[in-house]
């Protein structure tokens, strides 16, 4: 049923901190590792060791340079116009939107949004691989598994977060469990008092492409403004590498002679 549920009080999702993400790709590989044996398995690879490898991934980390001189994105107090770019690592995956057009365009009922927790999923047994959902997703979150012939996407690790065989602390998505800097947070964004919701309000978390009106549940925390004195450390001048006099000068003359 591709009509959207009228209510989903619970909105499970991720909060991703662009300030602390270091672009290590651990979330990418742990996602691939878990999910190639999980709910949407396999995450097929095509020609993985050949000249033009291809394959299905649910999570991809981009790297951007954000030059903040022109706007309000931070670096207030910096006098170096145009010089204060910073590197931002940006994990991109399904945002489990509140009004996901990828679900409503689906002609077969394979795509659906769960009323119980808001997770957007694909029923692989119903999907015909028409790929219209991938066109409808502005974020590029859905990928075709060309070998199986169906669309695949992030499941928010439904086979981990409700898995009684795992220790309670492990019942989080694989990407969250893997992140070494704690840049990924999992929780209920429908509850304004949940830790993730408080994190979003404290750090002014943002929606991606809010102008398209998809209402993404996942939020991104922008990098914190830099302190005014960073980037100009005081260090002593280095000694000359080719001294003229003294002991080192004598050694240099002997060795050069």
């Amino acid at each position: 049923m591709t009509s959207l549920p009228t209510t989903s009080d619970k909105k499970l999702g991720l909060v991703i901190d662009l300030d602390t993400c270091v672009g290590c790709q651990a979330c990418v590989t742990s996602c691939k590792e878990w999910n190639t044996g999980g709910h949407m398995a396999p995450l097929t690879d095509i020609n993985p060791y050949g000249a033009d490898p291809d394959g299905v991934w649910f999570n991809r980390v981009h790297t951007y340079e954000h030059s903040c001189d022109g706007g309000d994105g931070g670096d207030r107090g910096s006098g170096h116009r145009g010089e204060r770019g910073r590197t931002v690592h940006f994990p991109r995956s399904c945002l489990h939107c509140e009004t996901p057009a990828c679900v409503t365009v689906c002609p077969t009922g394979a795509s659906y949004k769960r009323a119980a927790d808001g997770i957007v999923l694909v029923d692989e047994d119903k999907c015909i691989g028409c790929q219209l959902c991938s066109w409808a997703c502005p974020y590029g979150a859905r990928e075709l598994d060309a070998v199986v012939g169906v669309m695949k996407k992030c499941t928010l690790c439904i086979d981990r977060i409700y898995n009684d065989n795992l220790q309670p602390e492990d019942r989080v998505p694989a990407c969250v469990a893997a992140c070494p800097t704690g840049a990924r947070h999992f929780g209920d964004l429908g509850d304004p008092l949940s830790p993730v919701s408080r994190l979003v309000s404290e750090r002014s978390g943002v929606d991606l492409m809010p102008e398209l009106g998809y209402g993404p549940v996942n939020k991104y925390l922008p990098p914190r403004p830099r302190a005014a004195d960073t980037g100009s450390a005081q260090v002593l001048a280095l000694e000359s590498a080719a001294p003229d006099g003294g002991f080192l000068g004598w050694v240099d003359r002997v060795l050069s002679g």
Binding site: T2, D52, H62, Y64, G70, P138, V150, E211
Partner: protein, 317 residues
Amino acid sequence: MHPAFSIIFFTSATGAGYGLLAMLGIWAVCGRLPPDRSIGLASLGLALALIVTGLSSSTLHLGRPERAWRALSQWRSSWLSREAIASLFTFVPTGLFGLGWILFERTDGIVAGSGTVMAASAVITVVASGMIYACLRPIAQWNTRFTVPAYVIFAIMTGSVLLAAILALMGSADRKLQYVALIAIGLGWIWKRATWRHNDRLGPAATMNSATGLGGGQVRSVEWPHTEENYVLKEMGYRIARKHAEKLRVLAQLFAFGIPFVATALASANGGGIAKVASVIAVLAQAPGILVERWLFFAEARHTVRLYYGLELPGRP
């Protein structure tokens, strides 16, 4: 967007087929459709051949064609599902219309009545086709008020050019129909040029700032997540070179509108052999012309996911 030939052929061929059915229905209601059985066989046969090959071509695009029947289930929310249902429903009035015309050699009365339903459901099918593209907000060039009328105009245009050629070839040339075809070609030409003019000024549906949540300043892609092209880039990263697009636009206008317009005008001004040759030329020119137009419809459409890969230059449409 990646211009997949199966979809380009599907939309062009079914557009012409449903346009031909719509014109047959309208012409029957107007009482101008000759009740001759052989004309019925030729025109309905051609329309159904275009529709059936087009629909079959669309299943080539599916990862799991054997499950295509499932696409009939989600008419409540999905335009693709509505298109599938409307396209199949159209076979019902078309069958009744064909029975009346071919078996009983009648194109009036109850046969014209089923022709009305046939024309209406053919147009609804084409509208649903257009809505599949027009409702996609990530693709600025499709998500405009131009898309749905374009599908309807091109269907009526190709349908009337086909019907005019069939009637001319079978010795029942109809000058009024040729005028309708001329008006449709002119309208299609104007509509396509207006669409291109509008789309050429469009930027992406979002910005790199809003796509990444990094407000203010400039965001520049320095590293992709992968070294080779992935599904997302192959399907939605496609962009045609500007110089190629310009050449193809000239070709599309020449073949889809220019030559068919002159040939149809020639056919309407002359009778006999010249009219037959000219109306066949109109059809033969328009077929590749519409395919090029449809190829450009896909190739010039740009998806917001390109922003994540730094493929949209800031401040440039």
